[in-house]
Subunit: 109 residues, 2 copies
């Protein structure tokens, strides 16, 4: 079963988090994950890019500490690390997600 | 006198703002500007990079709509567009700057 490396809370840095959130596709994906409020399989969220491109985006989000990936049988279940991020950088993810709602990020994807 | 182009509030996008803030040098610079609470000349804030590199960083911040540059004689005075950003993306810049304070971004520069 594939194992994924995740940064610990201590290893998560603000520049990396902001960089990971600075792409419209990733921002849209994180927004969908936040709305679903539970783990999602990789393919459950529709994305406007090729599967290989999405794999890259998901890796960037995982390496930045924004998402957690849990292998489950043949699937990979993805969840937001919202609690850890909120504890480390209070208000950052929350305000970014609120700002996504009020803008046309999704349309730009 | 050199004139600078700035995006209007409508042209400012969340991905561009997050990208501009995702670099430790730029984050540190924005933090210093926020602390100074008034216009600063280009050279007033000490930076750990070469002048040409800093010019690049300042251009990225200007083009993202985070800072405003006003020519003043032979100088360029720089200020944060905090009010416009707060209006467009409530809490984003504020929470990011608070997070900078509590992390080691400056040490990473």
């Amino acid at each position: 079963m594939k194992q994924y490396q995740h940064p610990t809370a201590d290893q998560i840095t603000l520049p990396c988090v902001l960089h990971a959130l600075s792409d419209p596709v990733r921002l849209n994906y994180v927004q969908c994950l936040a709305q679903s409020e539970c783990e999602q399989s990789c393919g459950a969220i529709p994305t406007p890019v090729a599967k290989s491109t999405m794999s890259h985006h998901i890796r960037v989000l995982r390496e930045a500490g924004i998402i957690h990936i849990r292998p489950f049988g043949t699937q990979s279940l993805i969840s937001l690390r919202s609690d850890e991020l909120e504890k480390k950088f209070p208000g950052v993810l929350t305000s970014v997600l609120k700002a996504v709602k009020s803008t046309d990020v999704i349309e730009q994807v």
